[in-house]
Symmetry: C2
Subunit: 306 residues, 2 copies
């Protein structure tokens, strides 16, 4: 299946307790495409950058099958810039700068060739823009997934509620799911969130894995215990991109296949954190990916006869 | 296999954000026995209480096959008392009182009938006492497991180092493993801790599950996502008791069987948190336990062909 992606394409500056980089490409749309490109070569990206953006990165994405007809390049303007500093545990971070730049007036216009997607993922971006994308579609995709964050829960709750009613799958983290539902128990939170619209919910718990909820079913996927996390930036988007890419590649959006897609998404995320930015995602071989997935299989493998 | 247990038998006072109880039985040895008793009826308990302790609780343990010949009852003295208050997230708590009482001068003396155990679990207690128990044994048990806590890492690091060299399996939580190893990554922490003695290490992560490390192998078991946690007190000891009880019942201490034992231990812990104290552990039916284990199987079940 083909995949339509909306999200940010940006520059990041990142500090971890051990390393630092002044400028590297980032953004939700960028990470999603890098990750999904391991599974499919039929993607359409809607996003905006300034003319300062890295041309090599765009060439690379194109070479991987990402159609950039919907990528607006604003002459004389600067790309979206985010800067953050991770705490010692690498699980939390402070945002040091968020310069919207081109993103401030972004109007996501879908080229004609984008308007009949089989799958759609709405990366973390203003819910008003997520809605605008859906409203331009000529058909209902088989699966619409979305990400969001607490900023939009605080700033644009009505638009967020509206887009939640339009999607099939919400992918957020544990803290976001607690904020969105107003309750602490993730099981209860999942019921409340599903009542807001999405039939499927993935709650990401970072180093503690991820939960998939659908009807009264729950699936839990662990995260791989890692010796070292070099840079967690983009891991969530990489997970989402791998998840959607795997579903699109296998042409199967059943619950059973979503379980497998979560394992593949988690495997992709475990690569992402090994280097700054999307760098590691560019070099993953098929064999490395299979080995990583096998490690997940082994990690939770047990056999009980009941 | 028979199981020798040393640990505390105590009264607790517990406050959660939603409920409160002034006095209920608790203690590591008590929870371990309650949990292991679902699997075996051949246990020996070494512990101490005052003559204020609940006689019905002791009768109950006896009826479940727990030999109390090694339980010292100190006339005119009070039982160990612990009081704690849980935070809103139920994952952390403040200790409000720790009255050692009879525990202050506890000298664990093994009756002759206790001295040839097939399995031994050293519940969380002063490492000097854990060593004293091992030194009285006439044979080396097939498996010696121990629990400990950060208090002993701070107060009695030398005795702790000594007992670590004498045991096969250490069961601690993630924060304790970080403190004991001095590193943040659990994978690195596991290597460092195993180099201190235990061939096997279980790191409990509360609501995030548990990891088993042995040689270069890692097994991860999730915790069951729960709607409600009524009282987390004793969940870790219940896990340990269920784990050891299952190994003893099945007479198999292989890595493969330890994986199953972790699932059974986790299932027992998921019952423990449903009521104050060990109350819920007294009423679990075999059918309930099988259903709970099945829920674990379903939770992480996926099928990937590589």
């Amino acid at each position: 299946m083909n995949l339509l992606v909306i999200g940010t394409v940006a520059f990041d500056a990142i500090e971890t307790p051990f390393n630092k980089i002044e400028k590297i490409t980032g953004g939700s749309g960028n990470y999603i495409c890098h990750s999904a490109a391991h599974f499919i070569n039929d993607m359409n990206l809607v996003a905006v950058v300034g003319d300062d953006f890295d041309q090599d990165e765009l060439k690379y994405l194109k070479s991987k099958g990402v159609n950039l007809d919907g990528l607006q390049i604003k002459a004389g303007e600067k790309s979206f810039f985010w800067s953050g500093r991770y705490h010692l545990n690498m699980n939390s971070r402070d945002t040091l700068a968020t310069d919207l730049n081109v993103l401030a007036n972004f109007d996501p216009i879908l080229p004609e060739s984008y308007k009949q997607p089989e799958m759609l993922i709405l990366g973390n971006i203003d819910p008003h823009l997520q809605i605008k994308v859906i409203e331009q579609l000529e058909n209902r995709p088989q699966l619409i997934a979305m990400d969001t964050m607490n900023f939009w829960m605080d700033q644009t709750p009505e638009a967020l509620d509206k887009v939640l009613k339009m999607v099939d799958l919400l992918i957020i983290n544990d803290e976001e799911s607690r904020q969105l539902s107003g309750v602490s128990s993730l099981v209860k939170a999942a019921s409340i969130i599903k009542s807001k619209g999405p039939k499927y919910l993935i709650i990401k718990k970072g180093e503690h894995g991820a939960l998939l909820f659908h009807e009264n079913r729950i699936f839990f996927a662990p995260a791989l215990p890692l010796e070292e996390v070099y840079d967690p930036t983009g891991a969530g988007d990489t997970f989402a991109g791998g998840f959607m890419g795997y579903l699109a590649q296998t042409n199967d959006i059943s619950f059973e296949n979503m379980k497998r897609a979560i394992i593949y998404g988690s495997a992709m995320a475990s690569f992402c954190v090994e280097k700054f930015g999307p760098e590691r995602l560019k070099t993953i071989t098929n064999e490395e990916l299979q080995d990583r997935v096998q490690a997940f299989v082994n990690l939770v493998d047990f056999n009980i006869e009941l």
